[in-house]
Symmetry: C2
Subunit: 425 residues, 2 copies
């Protein structure tokens, strides 16, 4: 199948009902005052459960400082991948990150899994746990256990509970983030056959109350797929989506993406049917990319979203490094905030990535308007540059003309409001 | 000699008369309207000249995108280091960076040297050229030549002209930056003998009108010292000073540090007299560190200066990487702005340097107040943390307890005013 054929066979539903779109998943969202401010209108505990055993895949922050829930998930995923047990669900909370909490933190992460698993008749290691919020404070475990008990009662495949769960994981996000993708397997050119659904919910990469930025992507599919293949597909999708976004370049101790697959659709994704893999991989990437872009657009106190393409680098690592050097530069981001087509800062940031770029062979465009062609400034276009960078969303396209490696980074501007918001106190 | 003995023998003069403190150097500062706004009160051309031939050393930006003056200096320094000619001076301007200006830019950098050298009876390659200011626009070469002609007439060893030269190189700095260090050679324990002087002027790492951040350190000494040894001493000093500062993590196309040595004091610094080398090296480092700290303190729109010590890293590269990860984090810098003792962001930034730090063995202090000891939060100290981070200057001391390598970075906070100032337009 060509890329276009694959895309045409996948349906993407924006702001969907969330994870209950995938068959066999039940969810709940409950308030349990984890923030400790007595606000019982604020949902802060999400439970995701599949009675049917699942295969699961995950990717986690590569920060040296990992939260207790991340360490717990990594351990569970390892024993699951080794074939020791299936997975059944995820318990996730906002309001407390359970990071930098030592032994007590590890105990509490385990207790959350154990409590949910116990009430649902499965084993502790069959649950993942995700936490986001303030770091360095211990989980208010009694409140959380009360919340888990309540959540187990509420578990439902209704849209309402699914969206309550999506609400429970957000922090400074201005709105919940859900998306669903669907495609047919086994029919003729996408018509007929069995519908496979992958659904997801995410929370943003903004700062959290007031200590930590975290992103979650919690995904569920009713496809039947091996752990090994699911993990490969997830790595690929995350590499093209959640790993290509940058609000402020900071990386949290808690970042987590998980995908559960329970096979309830009856459709199998397997390497014996290469089309099924291609479709699943593309659909998962599409889902993750949509959620990642939602996260950036809803970044804390940002005013513009910039898609930065670095093309023609000597190596993939160079393309990545140059894109991040530009996309994380405070000077570049400040200029973007002001709608200032300051190409000098872009070239300068590309230069200090120190990948041996050659100024004389560079082409730079704002959207499709040339700024620099083979080292020559196209100053006549200045008014057109201003039009582009004055928009809420635009592209920066840099061609290094040194090789064949490209990288795409979704970035944002840096605003006064961001600094004010993150000053704390 | 012990470190203390060395220090006690060196005198540092803050806000000194600048480069004419070193014997045999004449300077001039002239206005020539390089910015093209008709303001002839603004000094923008500096000339530094020693009739006595000099040895010289330099360090330059490692940005792939280098300005024409930097490329010209590198070439001149190479032929000088190869013994082909001495050096005699520096012509420096503000208002135009002569960066991203192609062939025309290289011609203009050469013309500036040629013009100054020709009027002073030396050769083009015996002059360095430094430019800072707007990038992507050509040097207004007729104006600059008029300014050079005027500067040659004004050349003087007076304090007044020396300070006019120091004024001519600044851009958005709020004040000129000069410093002088002195020590005696050949006497008994620093008494008597011959006085050696090293004097310097610098310009800041803030953004420039409105395109580019640049720092200059222009230094002169009346010691007699070989090119090779001077270069080694300068590398060391710059490594401990100008290379350890960070306002926004951006690195300019034009950063330049140059040191000229004309031997007019009659004192020789040579490896045959190890004390002379130790003293010279320490004095040069002291001078550079003072100027570097002045640059940070005068950083654009910053409100606090933070000295960040990363101790006990496995390698020197790790210590550097972790310090920069913390010191360049927008989240950490925003918290510092607000006087918020947000240790979580510091640990998180240390973690995403990905040097394999171990949370459980970390100690963290604000000044000397413990925040984290062996992975345990010292929450009782919270009020004392707040006192420290509420100051205009404080230290962050991180002990990794993994090895023997340390790094010191002088950093700043990130303010709303910084963003506003750098939004352009």
């Amino acid at each position: 199948m060509t890329k276009a054929e694959i895309s045409s066979r996948i349906t993407l539903i924006e702001n969907s009902s969330g994870l209950t779109d995938a068959s066999g998943f039940r969810l709940a969202g409950t308030p349990c005052d984890i923030r400790g401010n007595g606000d019982l209108n604020r949902l802060d505990l999400a439970l995701i459960f599949s009675k049917t055993p699942c295969t699961a895949a995950g990717t986690f922050t590569t920060n040296d400082v990992k939260s207790a829930p991340v360490l717990h998930c990594i351990k569970s995923l390892q024993s699951h991948a080794a074939g020791k047990h299936p997975m059944h669900g995820i318990v996730a909370n906002s309001g407390c990150a359970n990071a930098c909490t030592g032994e007590e933190g590890m105990l509490n992460a385990g207790r959350m899994c154990w409590f949910a698993a116990n009430l649902l008749g499965v084993n502790e290691e069959e649950f993942f746990v995700c936490s986001t919020g303030r770091i360095g404070v211990n989980m208010p475990i009694e409140k959380v256990e009360t919340g888990i008990r309540e959540s187990v009662k509420r578990l439902s495949n209704s849209k309402e509970e699914s969206l309550r769960a999506a609400d429970a994981i957000i922090t400074t996000d201005t709105h919940r983030k859900t998306c669903t993708v669907k495609f047919n397997l086994g029919g003729l050119k996408g018509v007929g056959g069995t519908t496979v659904t992958i659904a997801g919910m995410a929370k943003g990469a903004g700062m959290i109350e007031p200590n930590m930025a975290t992103m979650f992507g919690l995904l569920a599919t009713d496809a039947k797929i091996s752990q090994d293949l699911l993990q490969k597909c997830l790595w690929h999708a995350v590499g093209q989506s959640f790993n290509c976004i940058s609000v402020d370049g900071d990386m949290s101790t808690n970042d987590t993406v998980l995908c559960l697959a329970n096979g309830e659709s009856g459709a199998t994704v397997s390497e014996e049917d290469p089309d099924s893999v291609e479709l699943f991989k593309a659909a998962l990437e599409m889902l993750c990319f949509y959620l990642a872009k939602q996260i950036v657009s809803d970044g804390e106190k940002i005013s513009r979203v910039i898609t930065l393409h670095v093309n023609g680098a000597k190596t993939a690592a160079d393309a990545n490094k140059i894109a991040r050097s530009i996309g994380n530069s405070m000077l570049v981001k400040s200029a973007w905030c002001g709608g200032d087509p300051n190409w000098g800062r872009i070239l300068c940031a590309a230069g200090y990535a120190k990948c041996g770029i050659d100024q004389k062979s560079l082409d730079l465009y704002y959207d499709d308007v040339p700024v620099f062609l083979k080292g020559q400034l196209q100053a006549d276009n200045e008014e057109r540059w201003r039009e582009v960078v004055g928009k809420k969303e635009f592209e920066v396209n840099l061609f290094l003309n040194q090789g064949t490696h490209d990288y795409r980074l979704i970035s944002t501007d840096l605003t006064e409001a961001y600094v004010k918001f993150n000053m704390g106190e």
